[in-house]
Amino acid sequence: MNRKKQHFFLLLQLFVTFTALFLCMGLNLKKFSNYFQPLGYRYENAWVLALDFQNMPEEKKSAYSQLIKEKLQSIQEIELVSATEVVPFQQWGVSKKITYHKQTSTALGFEVDEHYPDVLDMKLVEGRWFKATDYALNTIPVVLTKDLAERDFKHESPVGKTILIADKPALIVGVSETFRENTSANLSPGFFFPLQTTATKYLLKSKSAGNFQLLEDKIRKAINSVGNTEILIKQNISLTLIQKFAQKTDYIQLGVTLIVFSFLLINVFLGVSGVFSYNLSKRKAEIALRVIMGASPAAILKQFLGESMVLTTLGILPGVLIAVQLLIMQYLEPYTDGYYGAISIGCSALFIYILMLSCAFYPSLKAARLNPSDALHEE
């Protein structure tokens, strides 16, 4: 294989590695940074109860739901009960169209009741949460998340303003902190609004996160005491356990990515080191000649490491251009954005430069220590 062909394959390998590295980093860096962002609520003392009312008519379901709430509230270990359609780490909001000043956008709608912020210790930034008395109004009372307020209202206060949600008027009564589905999720601009139908899920705030078994038993007994065999318990579990399960899935994904990625890097390392060693062994006479002409060991080392850096630059350059293009076109949203994309490009390039330096270092060092007379004699 001649030198041009070898260089072509090396450049191709570098391009592929850069692209894989960029995608791997780009798609995970934002996710990783999310771990350090606040969720906007506390889940440690929360408990999830999901029921199946089977084919029960809506009116009957509503009555039983109210009764169940009262029964749950009477449990000594339970501080608060909230009926909801939104459970962190498990069931998230539904995308809805909102219109303000004839401008339409989409946001997630979180269908919850008035106790929801207290169960999850959520903080309000402005205004108040909706109350049971608001339900009688002609407009839907809504609480925006901070990121939605910033996105759609910029610097003005949204409280007291009316928006349209799916063409129905809604009055903004407050702004809550940002609210994220789970530890790795991106911010999801959204709004809270009252339950429109009977909820099938309940979030309970327990007084202590201690005895799970006891609480589970008491909740089961409370549901059974309602006396309707049609109502089945689908889920009766601590929110912490749901969070752990969700996180485990994340870890598995990350683990698989890392394994594949490490394998790729080992492959590249061995491949590139081999190519460098081979190339330098073919250039022994040239190296010897340079030494004879006065090149110091450091100059030889510098030359070959420099060559590896030039090759690296040529190899990753198309990858960088493609990555920048993808970012400009917002092709990788919502996994990554301009900021994390640029960091991913920088880190991937830096990583490949370091990788190439480490691949080239030993063969270059060997070249720098070459005995010129032996090398020329071999030639």
Partner: protein, 222 residues
């Protein structure tokens, strides 16, 4: 200019000890043109490698240009070679991927404070001296043996070295081209006062030099 005292070179393996050079004492004065002759394997090239600071002797001392060079570090040896020595080889040893002018410029690449323009200018001058100024853009494989050797000579003289070490420079050339190369070296010696040490098998060429040193079995016999 070159003073070799009690030079020894022994190659040792686990089982065999080969004496390549034994008690060599040579004194070459500035501006001298010396030929080293002897049968194959007698140690001529080993001696030239030692003089060229490419190989270290097992014993003895080397003084070049009034400087004791035996104990110099690799970096200082490289600098010394770059400033003081020029090399010509039997098989030219040009870099095939570089053009003629780039090959000639090579020694100046490792000399500090010389700009690219200056390098090019000096390379053209050197090529002119050896009569190859029309071949600057050619590559070594586009040249004849004699032309390649002249490129090698241009490369050897570009840094104005005080000593040129030539290892059978006419060995691969026919008699006419060999003559041409020899005349070029004689001219360098005469006009520039360059000290030349040439290893050769060719008695006719050797007779053109000022002094012949004969070697046999690693020893200087005359």
């Amino acid at each position: 200019m070159i003073q070799l005292s009690n030079i020894e070179k022994v190659y040792r393996t686990k089982t065999i000890e080969t004496i390549a050079l034994n008690n060599i004492n040579i004194n070459i004065t500035r501006g001298e043109f010396v030929a080293i002759m002897g049968p194959s394997g007698c140690g001529k090239s080993t001696l030239l490698n030692i003089m060229g600071l490419l190989d270290a002797p097992t014993g003895g001392s080397i003084i070049m240009d009034d400087q004791q060079v035996t104990a110099l570090s690799r970096k200082k040896l490289a600098l010394f070679r770059n400033l003081k020595l020029g090399f010509i080889f039997q098989s030219y040893h040009l870099i095939n991927d570089l053009s003629v002018i780039d090959n000639v410029e090579l020694p100046l690449l490792y000399r500090k404070g010389i700009s690219g323009t200056e390098r090019r200018k000096r390379a053209l001058e050197a090529l002119e001296k050896v009569g190859l100024s029309a071949r600057t853009k050619h590559y070594p494989n586009q040249l004849s043996g004699g032309q390649r050797q002249r490129v090698a000579i241009a490369r050897a003289i570009i840094g104005n070295p005080e000593i040129i070490l030539a290892d059978e420079p006419t060995g691969n050339l026919d008699s006419a081209m060999g003559e041409e190369v020899m005349n070029l070296m004689l001219q360098l010696n005469k006009t520039d006062g360059t000290t030349i040490v040439m290893v050769t098998h060719d008695e006719l060429m050797a007779k053109k030099t000022q002094r012949i040193i004969h070697f046999f079995d690693g020893q200087q016999v005359s």
